[in-house]
Symmetry: C2
Subunit: 342 residues, 2 copies
Amino acid sequence: MAITIKDVAKRADVSVTTVSFVINGHHSKVSKSTLKKVLRVIDELNYHPSRQARGLVSRKTGNLGFIITEDHFSRAEPFYTKVFLGTEFETREFEYYVLLKTIPTDFNEESRLPRFVLERNVDGLILVGKIPTTLIQRLKSTKIPMVLVDYYLPDENFPVVLIDNIAGGYKAAMHLINCGHRRIAFVGGDMEHPSITERYQGYRMALEKSNIPFDPALVVVDETYLSTRNGYCAAQKLFSQTKNVTAIFACNDSMALGAMQFLKERGKKIPQEVSLIGFDDVESGLTVEPHLSTVRVPKIELGSEAVRLLMNKLQNNSVAAHKVLIPVDVIARESTCRVNGN
Amino acid sequence: MAITIKDVAKRADVSVTTVSFVINGHHSKVSKSTLKKVLRVIDELNYHPSRQARGLVSRKTGNLGFIITEDHFSRAEPFYTKVFLGTEFETREFEYYVLLKTIPTDFNEESRLPRFVLERNVDGLILVGKIPTTLIQRLKSTKIPMVLVDYYLPDENFPVVLIDNIAGGYKAAMHLINCGHRRIAFVGGDMEHPSITERYQGYRMALEKSNIPFDPALVVVDETYLSTRNGYCAAQKLFSQTKNVTAIFACNDSMALGAMQFLKERGKKIPQEVSLIGFDDVESGLTVEPHLSTVRVPKIELGSEAVRLLMNKLQNNSVAAHKVLIPVDVIARESTCRVNGN
DNA sequence: GTGAAAGCGCTAACAT
DNA sequence: ATGTTAGCGCTTTCAC
């Protein structure tokens, strides 16, 4: 049987209360000498208070729930995995644990809430990526503090950690413009997803800022998923009408990779004939030739920031920063160059 | 305040004992009519018993700990992520949760054990990938049931889930041999890791079986990490002495990808001049040209099997299968072909 | 078949 | 500054 608070109390010849004060840091309520004594016994016995028992009375579980759709988490690119890792790293700081829960994409009214919510086994919730609205609403009504990551609902006011997508889209397009390009295509899809729309907004802003006329024919956004395969198809559509495109801004690296594949098959030299930039800085952008230029997103940061936001709420009940924008930057690698291949 | 067992008891006009019997499935101790009544009230109130409270008395936490080194989990290839996902999927079945804990690679005597171990917040442990022996030993002494995944200690007897690496290595080499190759290189590294040694064993077995003389000059295993970069270097070493190699079996896809990069730069046509096969079936093997032939490892399976093994121990205290070998198969894609490019 | 009551390991009034 | 005690929400022994 494991060591309990009673064992410590007995051995240190004090009451459990005193021991409790010590382990909870209420040191002012304990004399210096007893404090030392208790601390020594705790060390000798290698005592660690039971999470469960503490939780039962303090109504804290020491757990955070991480909710994400199945398809998001198991995507080839470890984007959300990195975010998850970021939360894991950051929670150490706070002595919390993260419980992961993947939910089906088609979560609906009938679906059961995650068990850790029903059984009150989490103190806070981190919702990552696009999450069905009905789930968010039902979660909201549980009153468990929550923060969204890389997704938000326009008419709700949850604390949220977002990629600065507008700035990212702007910087990506600007990078191409600075390279002398003017016929810059935007390859996207799922304009339902705020992130994508924002990257598109940034793209539009950069064009406008640079007095480059916007040509709707250069925008391909009719793909539903942002996959490599759809990137391929989008590029295909784009070039089926040859509009002398000299550069492509794909709304993420997956699509960029698909587009790259198409360009190669079509015999287009990258970047000499067509420059290509993605978004996300996914690992496989480096296994490909030429190395993909992209917009780096600090994924670990997204996770750790989410935890900080939540802990702030949980521990200080502060309502400080409600919206955190994580800055991003262009990584110019080999798939972009000055127009005309210079 | 959340609904408690008392609320249910009161409303159903029975004692808490009866409610407890109902939620624990001791239906024989309850009359049919009360059972129905209690069930109805539970449903009406949407009652879910508190995990913490149950755990406190039953000495079960409903959690499993997943321990992995930092570098393993954050590797570019989502190999272990998939394994983790597999555990997450499988635990639903058993109403358990998985707590992830990444540990530093240099975990030593001084390092603190994972908190969930100290605070007895897990019922079982899943150790994944290469884990410092000292940690395993210290964990062993806690008596918490554990299972290893994709790693084992030769002189210990833990339940373990392994990839059938020998068969995999054998099949990979045999695939090349069946394509007519006889000068087949093995590119490896970290022969400390059992998995790698086993793949190598399989390679040797295939050669022997086919009466192909073994040439130590075709084996490059002096790289420490199994990274893309080191695959590149290994290939470089291999070809620095041009031994008319016609095929390479790399011990994992990362290294294969590195080797591929080298071959391309060297102007070697793949697979016409050199066939190349990897191991793991990592996603980026498909983003590369030509698509990488490899040995597919069912990663999700590794995780779910680990959970099943552990649950078997936990729920039935059975000591059934102690060692599970997960079968693997060659996926012949574009990077391998008959010798001489036929 | 059902209920009263003890107790899991801990926290926090309240009393001293 | 320290101890006594009543719970937290549940399971389970023991009576009835």
